[in-house]
């Protein structure tokens, strides 16, 4: 145990770092999904995808298909997280059936970018705090 504790089992700064780290990976996965949407902005019948909102509970697992046979294809992490956005949820639908709106994707990408920056800032701040707590200077 290093600094403060929450319930005697986990130390708070480490817990915050872990949370920030998971949020950063979530933001990176979201950014990758958005990059896939933008790459497919002009693909006929492509439906815009987004990933499930961030869940701070580390033990929460979304409902997913299980792999019970060696021939089953394993879902990749992005596939597990990304789901097609509802038609009503997108800004526009092109005549070709494509539901990607570049403006909307840019806004979402900005949000993901900010989320990532925030998590990285939290990690570095807590790291600095821990260093100042253990240093003798």
């Amino acid at each position: 145990m290093i600094v403060g504790t929450v319930d005697g089992s986990s130390s708070a700064p480490l817990w915050v770092s872990e949370l920030a780290s998971r949020k950063a990976s979530w933001a990176a996965a979201r950014q990758a999904t958005i990059a896939g949407n933008i790459a497919n902005a002009d693909t006929p019948e492509y439906r815009a995808r987004d990933i499930a909102p961030f869940n701070p509970d580390p033990y929460a697992r979304p409902l997913q298909m299980s792999r019970t046979h060696a021939l089953h294809m394993e879902l990749t992490d992005l596939e597990r997280l990304a789901e097609a956005v509802d038609e009503t949820g997108t800004w526009d639908i092109a005549h070709s059936g494509n539901t990607v709106s570049i403006d909307e994707e840019m806004i979402k990408s900005g949000q993901a970018s900010r989320d990532h920056q925030m998590s990285v800032a939290v990690m570095s701040t807590f790291h600095r705090m821990m260093l100042s707590a253990v240093s003798f200077r």
Partner: protein
């Protein structure tokens, strides 16, 4: 699975590649806007279009994009009356390509917009990667 941040580079790269192929076809159409045939009644240049398709790239675990094929535009050719042209038929009409400059310009602008959007994603991914690497420096 590969790191999402490096995946973005591959996805945006595939998007830029697809859009630049589209731009190349637009340039080809525009360059051939007046390419008529050489023999009487011959068909002129036929406008081409690109077809994109989303492909599941299992190496990066995400939907990438690729140019599936290029297709010929079935719109009828324009007829121009020019009896002195080598491609003129018995009535003096020449078949000219079914390329509309205005449509090509609009297509070019759209390809440009999508290309820049992909470029922007690449920039954002680079910023995210460097801010993650900068965490290593926070101890100094």
């Amino acid at each position: 699975m590969s790191d999402p941040l490096t995946t973005i580079g591959a996805l945006a790269g595939a998007g830029m590649e697809a859009q630049s192929q589209r731009l190349r076809i637009v340039a080809q159409n525009m360059a051939n806007a007046r390419s008529a045939g050489a023999t009487p009644g011959a068909d002129p240049y036929q406008r081409r279009t690109v077809i994109f398709s989303a492909e599941m790239d299992r190496a990066i675990g995400s939907y990438s994009v690729d140019v599936k094929r290029t297709e010929l535009d079935p719109t009828p050719f324009r007829l121009e009356h020019d009896p002195s042209h080598p491609a003129a038929d018995a009535a003096g009409n020449v078949k000219m390509p079914n390329v509309n400059m205005l449509v090509e310009m609009a297509d070019m602008r759209e390809a440009n917009l999508s290309y820049e959007a992909n470029l922007q994603m690449m920039r954002r991914a680079r910023t995210m990667i460097s801010s993650t690497i900068d965490l290593l420096r926070s101890g100094q």
